[in-house]
Amino acid sequence: MAIFGVCAFAALALERLGFRTTVALSLAFLLLGVERRGLIFSTVFAIAFAAAAFLLFDTFLRVPLPRGPFGI
């Protein structure tokens, strides 16, 4: 159920908040709220994953991903 919710959130937020923010928030929610991982680990993992995926696809593979306000 939570997974479903996250997907719906992602679909809504993807073009409004931008890719990196959306993915980082979704991951942080799943890791912290659902899987009860540590706060520091979850935050670092979520942000690192979002940044790395963006770098890989948008920057290296030139697949356009949405940017949110303030260009993030």
């Binding site: 997907c7 992602a10 679909a11 993807l14 979704s26 991951l27 799943l30 696809f57 949405p66």
Partner: protein, 510 residues
């Protein structure tokens, strides 16, 4: 024959160029990862990585996607041998004897035999693919719309007949897929159908969101609840060499598995799964000591593993020669080729020889890469399984969203994936197979085009389908298959499909 060799030389000159070699290598590595990780099958893997190939040209993209496909087939065997978890469905049979061997301390040998068997099967069946596809394509040049229509219809019937479980359920799923495929702009008249005012639906429902939803998301939903820490048996490098007797015992099953797998692969349907089941059954029948099966018989690893890899190449025959996908994975690859502006079909081999022969040659290369990659690096891949599922699935989920969004840059696709994920989860609970839906979505526009063109040719006379010999034959075969499928309803016996479904269930919950 001379032509073939010449063409092959052209192919190798392309496949061995550093750039293509690199993409084949990347594809194989990614494919192995996809195969090793439970919950990401080859179908979801290919769909997810489709956007990553958009920046490449067509040949590179297809070489890479094919690498992912057969890489996943290799990778799946690793987890089933070491942990009794099939990384993908086709490795279910390998689990039984592979894991038994691993418990006896022969994990290394089982892995080596699986890898060598896959290698032999892969290479031999590529040769067969190479020899078979061009003649088939030139034969298919005589096909008009009515023949295509009959062929596509036959494909759906065979799929329904071959799928494990009820034929009725499989046909129902195929029909659902066809209906979903109807959504969008009518190709003949430009009329919007079933779009309900959503402009994005005008393009129709794409294969990728449907495939990722049904296979990726539904899988995550199904397994997220029951993440049990799996036990990993770690092989040491020294154990990798099988004994001479093990080699001898596996040689014949590898040969038989290759032939069987290739033949089954050509026929539409969930080829890999069926081919490994059939091969296992055959080996058991032919074995001198059938009681050893289940206790770690080498033949029980060698046969099915070879069969599922041979089926991979077999599945490319109708895809490349006819432009007709024989299962959900070739269907997604077909969609990928279309994205890159390549239209597969009888003309592909003539018009774009670099692509076709480069692809063939890259499959030879890819098989070698995989053999090298899999044997010494097994330990590395196994370590990946230490990553807890709690971290793995959110990451996979993020990739699902990314992959689906990036194909068209459309949020509507993400919603479609979400709906399909929910649908796939429930259908799975109800024992429906979801593969025919994906196939239906891909086939719907082709089928519709063929039907309407034929009817335009004949001024609306349906008799055109029976009046032409090839299409009449194809339709006849389809009818026979349906009749065969209905037979157990009459005789009330468990046919082999039902038994297969039972066996599969038994294996999935040990």
């Amino acid at each position: 024959m001379d032509d073939t060799l010449q063409n092959l030389a052209l192919g190798f000159s392309i496949a061995l160029s550093p750039a293509i070699l690199w993409y084949a290598f990347v594809g194989c590595v990614v494919g192995t990862l996809v195969g090793v990780l439970p919950g990401v099958g080859p179908l979801a893997g290919i769909s997810l990585l489709l956007p990553a190939t958009f920046g490449l040209d067509a040949t590179r993209a297809i070489v890479m996607l094919a690498g992912i496909y057969y890489g996943a087939m290799y990778g799946g065997s690793t987890t089933s041998i070491l942990m009794r978890i099939p990384g993908e469905a086709a490795s279910v049979m390998t689990c039984i004897d592979g894991y038994a061997m691993a418990r006896k301390g022969r994990a290394g040998a089982a892995l080596a035999i699986a890898a060598v068997g896959s290698y032999v099967a892969g290479t031999v069946s590529v040769v067969a693919l190479m020899l078979l596809a061009p003649p088939l394509a030139s034969f298919a040049l005589r096909f008009g719309p009515p023949e295509y229509f009959a062929l596509l219809l036959l494909g759906l019937f065979v799929l329904a007949y071959m799928s494990s479980g009820s034929m009725l359920k499989a046909l129902a799923m195929a029909a659902l897929g066809l209906l979903l495929g109807m959504i969008g702009i009518d190709q003949m008249t430009g009329y919007f159908r079933f779009a309900y005012g959503v402009v994005e639906l005008g393009d129709g429902i794409g294969v990728v969101p449907v495939a990722v939803g049904l296979f990726g998301l539904a899988e995550i939903l199904a397994t997220a609840g029951l993440a049990v820490p799996p036990q990993v048996i770690k092989p040491t490098l020294r154990e990798l060499l099988p004994t001479r007797q093990e080699w001898r015992e596996s040689a014949a099953p590898i040969g038989r598995g290759t032939v069987l797998g290739f033949l089954i692969g050509i026929v539409p349907g969930s080829a890999h799964i069926i081919s490994s089941f059939v091969s296992y059954a055959v080996e058991r029948k032919l074995a001198k000591r059938p009681q050893e099966f289940g206790q770690g018989a080498v033949a029980g690893v060698a046969g099915p593993e070879s069969a599922n890899n041979a089926a991979t190449s077999g599945a490319f025959v109708p895809m490349l020669a006819l432009g007709v996908p024989s299962g959900p994975i070739p269907a997604v690859m077909l969609a990928a080729m279309m994205v890159h502006g390549v239209s597969p079909g009888p003309l592909l081999i003539k018009q774009q020889p670099e692509l076709f022969w480069g692809f063939i040659a890259s499959m030879y290369v890819g098989n070698v890469v995989l053999l090298i990659l899999n044997l010494p690096l097994v330990g590395v891949f196994v370590n990946l399984l230490r990553v807890p599922y709690a971290i793995l699935y959110p990451s996979v989920l993020a990739f699902c969203i990314l992959g689906v969004y990036a194909v068209n840059g459309s949020v509507v696709d993400v919603w479609i994936m979400l709906l399909m994920g929910g649908l796939g989860y429930f259908l799975r609970k109800l024992d429906f197979e979801t593969a025919p839906i994906v196939l239906g979505v891909v086939l719907a526009p082709m089928l519709e085009m063929a039907l309407r063109q034929s009817l335009a040719m004949s001024d609306g006379q349906y008799s055109i389908f029976v009046a032409r010999p090839i299409s009449a034959t194809l339709l006849g075969v389809g009818l026979i298959l349906i009749a065969l499928g209905l037979q157990p309803l009459v005789t009330r016996g468990l046919d082999w499909r039902a038994r297969l479904a039972l066996a599969e269930k038994g294996d999935e919950h040990p």
